[in-house]
Amino acid sequence: MFRIQSSLRAMGPTLLGSARPSVVGCNNANVKATANLVLSRGKRTKARALAPGAQRIINMLSVFSAHKKQPRRIKLAMEDLIRHNVVQKAWSIFMRDKKLIRTERLKSQYKKIEEAAEELKSLNGYLHFEATKRELGKRFSPEMRIPTETPPNEIWHEDWKVTDIYAKKR
């Protein structure tokens, strides 16, 4: 923060408030002013270094800055490091197996689709033509829901009624 402050000071007097230190050294020119200084209870004696606007900018910048906000580096002992590596390796194996099962499943499903299409072709040309027609512009329905960690207040909309729009579409 100090560095930002000094660079702002270098930018010129506009950002810095007009307030100056009330007592500056013991120059001859200031002796008279010091003599006239009246001390009163509750009055701010230390002059503000920055204008409130500039201080706000510094606060905002310091939110993004790592200065003083970074935690200490983790220093793992050899045993802990080995433990960490074992955990990561186990996880990658777990994920790989999961993915493998999924891929195998998708492959076999694709084969089933091909097999069904071939059989349909040999039985009925019209049905095959309709079944393998390209569905341009097909999208997932916007009413589909992505699974969440807990269910919504209304778990299933059971009282859904077919509206005229839907009736026309079908």
Partner: protein, 309 residues
């Protein structure tokens, strides 16, 4: 003249003529329904429907997954930057005081004191060697004029967050006709064939000039009412099962052109529910439950089409 003769020679030499007759034949097949073969085959083809309710909640985690996610979470918290409270709370404000009062704060560092857990390293009121634990000051709605005074009203912002249970009433009584059961699994619709007393995916015979996916959706509304919102995954069937005359499932090798076939169209239910129009028995079941409900050869033929979850 010369160009035409060259092209004719080309057609003759490269078997293109053969291809042309093939195309002509297939076109005839495509657009004519009058031929006996096509008509007869339509009668033997059924449009099966695999209607599924996709999971409402995320799958249950295994112990290993839970432990791993917890470990990663703790690592992330340990490596997180310090929370800049001076930015979020104005200096000297009531909110700042409430926030500071709620924090537990680190162990301060003093000279000539022995710290068994190491010398504290504090910056911005945070122990840099540990994760920063932030306590959000919670107030009762009564004390806080900002969030409304009525605790009972559902609109009040100060009300505590209560999560819905992943386990429902339908789970308690194991109501297989309910769509609110087994929220983390895919459920499939099966119906009981009245005359044969066996459970099957619903299948429908085709009408004249009706593609499979249309027949499946039409048939579903005939047996289950119109107040059901579905989304067909694809026009292409996901698989086929062949049956002999007595209704037994047979393999590809044993099947002939005359054996009955069910082509399965996949679809998801989005809203509404299945209400049997003629009192037919039906159930929404998971993959494992289907294994015990359906007969084995039939289950083996359709199981690869189902989702893993």
């Amino acid at each position: 003249m010369a160009g035409a003769s060259v092209s004719r020679r080309l057609v003759q030499s490269s078997g293109l003529k053969n291809l042309q007759t093939n195309i002509n034949n297939s076109c005839k097949r495509l657009y004519s329904t009058e031929t006996d073969g096509t008509k007869a085959s339509t009668r033997r083809i059924l449009a099966g429907l695999i209607l599924s309710r996709t999971p409402v909640v995320t799958p249950e985690l295994t112990e290993f997954e839970k432990a791993y996610y917890h470990y990663q979470d703790e690592l992330e918290r340990r490596l997180m930057w310090t929370f800049p409270s001076y930015y979020y709370f104005k200096k000297g404000s009531l909110r700042e005081r409430q926030f500071n009062a709620a924090q537990r704060g680190p162990v301060p560092r003093h000279a000539n004191i022995w710290y068994p857990k190491g010398i504290p390293d504090i910056q911005h009121n945070r122990e840099r060697r540990l994760k920063q634990e932030i306590v959000i000051p919670r107030q009762s709605a009564d004390n806080d004029g900002l969030f409304g005074n009525n605790e009972e009203s559902d609109d009040s912002l100060g009300r505590p967050i209560v999560l819905n249970s992943r386990h429902t009433e339908a789970d308690e009584i194991n109501d297989t006709t309910s769509l609110k059961r087994k929220l983390d699994r895919t459920l499939y619709l099966v119906v009981k064939e009245q005359d044969k007393n066996i459970w099957r995916f619903p299948a429908f015979s085709l009408e004249q000039k009706e593609p499979l996916h249309i027949a499946a959706e039409r048939g579903l509304r005939q047996i289950g009412g119109v107040n059901i919102n579905t989304w067909t995954v694809s026009n292409t069937p996901a698989g086929v099962t062949r049956f002999n005359e007595s209704g037994q499932v047979i393999g590809k090798e044993e099947s002939t052109d005359s054996s009955k076939r069910e082509f399965y169209i996949k679809s998801h239910i989005l809203h509404g529910k299945f209400v049997p129009q003629d009192g037919q028995d039906f159930a929404w079941l998971t993959r494992e439950e289907l294994g015990s409900k359906l007969d084995e050869p039939y289950y083996n033929s359709v199981e690869p089409l189902l989702s893993l979850n």
